[in-house]
Symmetry: C3
Subunit: 300 residues, 3 copies
């Protein structure tokens, strides 16, 4: 599978798997191992996490699988995040949902992630949300320390607007390597806000969460979703794709910014289908037809 | 007439003529020659085009006039554009309206423009609209090749937001020389979005399309237009201008960013009137009175 | 009191006093002297003005106090502004409210301010509002001349969006030292528009006008204000603050951008209370609880 070189020492598989919902799948440790191995068979080597996923449980569930089969660690890349604090029985000290990007919290969160994953390094650590209270010099200190200790290889962000990305970048010794944002045919916000342009400007590739639009494409009766679904079905026929999913992935993969879609499914056949979409190439008219269906009007 | 030096080797007349509607004027080839010559008499030497104007016919109609009188070519500057693909009987392969800023399309479009104009160079080529599918490195390759072949002297864009302008500029060997945007007393979008500020920041001059607000100033009964019209009439009286047009042009010409208004009329007396507006200077209070009439409130 | 070094040669007290309403307080010259001396006793040495305050009268009223006690001048920093022209019986030549950032006006306005203040220098001069007619090269010329003549030590702006700040900065020999903007728990605009981020990016500290939200917090029955007030009262109890004011100031002072709040009250006990808020530190949960009360929803 195509790989995207995010930095000299870190590359990700073009299709990333997202473990957001791992705790909902009812998998045993053995089944998680098996799932990871099948992903690896398809060339999907990169796994996206966050400290808070599964109410603070997913990292450890994944780590238990790595413990069961330690040889997996060197074959995969772990992306995880910190910076959000949830109201949770697992964090009784949180009275509200808020952000914390203090040096102390970033370091403590990574230490916990390392323990959860049964590993001694994270490939890429992301700040999960732009924090209005962020002190960029504290974040920079935390990153420098974690890097020097070999605990994190590279750093990125998630859901950052261009101005927030530039701000943090301006305080760092080494540039951020990615911005993980919501992009899909039904969620065009980051085309409109210039986030994708800023990735192109900074020569980085965005990671896309919810690349299928959160599944609403199959169920929603909203007018916009209807329009997009009809267009996807038409183009699916034209190009002989196996599913609408594949057209949605292809729509992202065709974009020149080299978007890395995060596949969130626990069903291995859907991961396989996402991987197959790498062989599909939409032409410009097909790409714009989907865009215009989503916008509800032709381009200006 | 005042000239604006957009680059070392290209300057435009402060008043530019726009050929958008040439195909509607019912002019013979001889009449087009005559019209161009009269523009030249007034000092208007720069003519704005696009591949798509007149349903892909205007460039050639203009070129036929240049063929009739080849000596005109060296006395004028040709600005043209590419990047929009229209649904048109002249382009049956287009099933939808979309953008194409691929290297291949840019080069093919310029080749066609050169043939249409019966010339071997374009003075300034603009990318017509910001393309969400733009691969800036492809655009850069196309520009480099066209420049090296002597087919285009300089490059610019049209309707680009500041972030889009910066993105493309960051991939080019030579900076963009202009951004052609809609600016008029009734269309303040680019004051609000920072596009004009970005031109000032990058030390370039914007070209203004629809500098009279698309003619609505004479016909619309919209409240905003009424307010602006009343203010224009009052100020026209104060400064002894011949027409509201002149006050509208003067409003643009007074701005420090050195806006180049594009006059779109096929009536030579209206071109003359636009040229005369260069002699009018609004004072600050008059300038703001028009701005505030358009906004419907005084400044903060 | 903590001081903020805005430039090599100018620092302000962290709490600034704003003289906006001086002419409404009914103070004699002696009482103004006494008020300034009490501020100095608290460590408040910086006084914020504008040419237009009190319908063009405040600067002179303050200057008369300085005339009465000339030794005060060297103990204080004077911040003043220019660039707005008000309709006023004191400026009969103004027919509308408008902006003027021409070189001529900036210099003339400073000359007048120097006379009003009975001083030969201004510590910091701010352009009061972003002017759509601003010619940044003229502003730069005015600043250079005023600096060379020793009439103004440093320059800043007020109410500038990030793009406007960058534009002006790009024309100046010396960078702007501050952006005075409206920030309070009930006015989050500059968190949302990236203005505060841009201050952090440019390593400058913003000054905050209306840091209490214009007093509406005590009187408004608006739902948003109710929510914020309830939260402030709760947190006031938690931290043992003397007043809601103090919680509002502490909310600003806790932010890492080192915001300088401008206290606008003529009552010395309220200045004292603001100064005491420097000893209060909100924890992250308290800070976000106020933010979320203002937004009416938790963070994403």
């Amino acid at each position: 599978m195509e790989r995207i070189q995010l930095a000299e020492d870190v590359s990700l598989s073009r299709i990333v798997h997202g473990m957001w919902r791992l705790s909902d799948w009812g998998y045993s440790q053995e089944e998680v191992v098996e799932f990871i191995e099948k992903c690896l068979d398809f060339g999907v080597t990169s796994f996206d996490h966050a400290d808070i996923y599964g109410n603070y449980t997913v990292e450890e569930q994944f780590g238990q699988a790595l413990e069961l089969k330690p040889s997996l660690r060197d074959k995969i890349e772990i992306v995880t995040k910190c910076g959000i604090k949830l109201i949770s029985s697992n964090r009784p000290e949180h009275k509200i949902k808020y952000y914390d990007t203090s040096k102390e919290h970033i370091i403590r969160s990574v230490e916990k992630s390392l323990k959860n994953f049964r590993t001694d390094y994270i490939d890429i650590l992301l700040i999960h949300r732009p924090d209005p209270m962020m002190d960029p010099s504290e974040v920079a200190e935390a990153f420098t320390q974690l890097k020097e200790q070999g605990k994190v290889k590279r750093f990125g962000v998630s859901n950052f607007a261009p101005s927030q990305y530039k701000l943090l970048n301006s305080y760092l010794d080494e540039p951020l390597v990615t911005n993980q944002i919501e992009i899909s045919a039904t969620h065009l916000e980051h085309f409109d806000k210039g986030t994708i342009e800023q990735c192109q400007m900074d020569r980085i590739s965005p990671m896309a969460w919810s690349p299928l639009g959160g599944g609403s494409i199959f169920t929603s009766t909203e007018e916009k979703v209807n329009r997009v679904r009809n267009t996807l079905e038409k183009i699916q026929g034209q190009i002989g794709a196996e599913s609408m999913d594949q057209v949605l992935y292809a729509w992202l993969l065709t974009h020149p910014s080299k978007i890395l879609p995060i596949v969130g499914s626990g069903k291995i056949e859907r991961v396989k289908s996402a991987v197959s979409s790498l062989d599909i190439k939409l032409d410009s008219q097909q790409w714009f037809e989907i865009l215009e269906a989503s916008k509800g009007k032709e381009v200006d």
